[in-house]
Symmetry: C2
Subunit: 221 residues, 2 copies
């Protein structure tokens, strides 16, 4: 069985948890306080980051590498489009959420408001929070423009791009940073992915000191 | 024929140029001053970043998505290992260079010393440069530990991981930030990849105001 080392509010860990659950792969969830740089954990991953997925045969790090591995090793259900061009569009969006969106939005809101306190780095910087709140609007509008002519973010099938994006939105929803009234298309897309069984474990996460907002686990938010 | 929009010192663009050349794919190289946010370029890529690869059928953005696309569409020579586990290791290293190494080293040295001046953002911050010079040592030691028991970074075949890493080292070599005496293994690895025909176009790059260091294009550096 796999052991999955994670942090509850990491969007990268959440993306992998969604993929594992969607593929019905059994795993043991282990919370890793990565900022404490535990020696045994550094042996697993010299860079000290979560997520790490491990079994008796292999140790995997970096969320994109893990997701591609899971898709190749456990192809059912497949979370990649069938054709090469659509896969490129999907990977563009995965990079976009995990790189650009993460930097411009998730880091500026969830990291500032919650993670900093957990890892002992102090209080949120107002300047960053303000920027994050500004940036998320632009990103939601862009998603909305995609969803106008697609059922899912990368096309008409649910793919890794949806899991990457939903992982970010789930932590932003926890920190109460999503204005769901901004776009019905984005809200409907999130409601659709949130109601999947794979999402249940994310909705059950409770962080000491940071209560879930009332709508967080509600499928009719 | 493909049109490739790039910036000469972007390691992400250089990685794609290496893959295109290694696969002998013809392309027209177009220098894009992405910071000027040219309207036609924003239509191609709403996020305004290079690299962008385009032909009459498709427009591709994000360097990892482009490289995976090129590997799927033009499988010869393949730049991916044969087995799933080795591919995961390769993708871990690609993410590592393009994410961690980029943040800790390339951004702190090449961006500070050269890019900032080109895009009109002023002078290098001494604090960042110092950090970058400190971090590159740790990263070279890690590469050295991999190369002790592997011919290439991800195993015994040359893969995308080598191109990702070499792209970063080529721009750091341009900014004179690599101490090649630190590791013979890293130096030999770089000499091996630098001597490939695919590398020639990178070695011919000249930036106005930033002359090439004497050893930059020398295959026996």
């Amino acid at each position: 069985m796999f052991r999955f080392f994670h942090a509850p509010l990491s969007p990268f860990c959440r993306k992998v948890r969604l993929v594992l659950s969607e593929k019905k792969i059994e795993f043991e969830l282990i919370e890793e306080k990565y900022w404490e740089k535990r020696e045994d954990f550094l042996t697993l991953n010299p860079f000290g980051q979560v997520p790490v997925l491990q079994n008796s045969e292999i140790t995997l790090a970096e969320s994109s590498a893990i997701c591609e591995y899971l898709n190749e090793k456990f192809p059912d259900p497949k979370l990649l489009p069938n054709n090469i061009e659509d896969r490129a569009e999907m990977r563009r969006l995965v990079s976009w959420f995990d790189d650009k969106f993460n930097r411009e939005v998730t880091q500026k809101l969830v990291y500032e408001r919650i993670t900093k306190k957990i890892i002992g780095e102090g209080y949120p910087e107002a300047k960053n929070v303000k920027l994050g709140m500004h940036n998320i609007k632009f990103h939601m509008d862009y998603m909305s423009s995609l969803l106008e002519y697609r059922q899912w973010l990368a096309g008409n099938e649910m793919t890794l791009a949806d899991f990457a994006a939903a992982a970010h939105f789930s932590v932003l929803d926890y920190s109460r940073d999503v204005d769901w009234d901004r776009s019905n298309l984005v809200k409907d897309w999130y409601a659709k992915i949130k109601s999947r069984p794979a999402f249940r474990s994310l909705l059950a996460d409770h962080l000491a000191g940071f209560p879930q907002p009332p709508h967080y686990a509600d499928l009719d938010f």
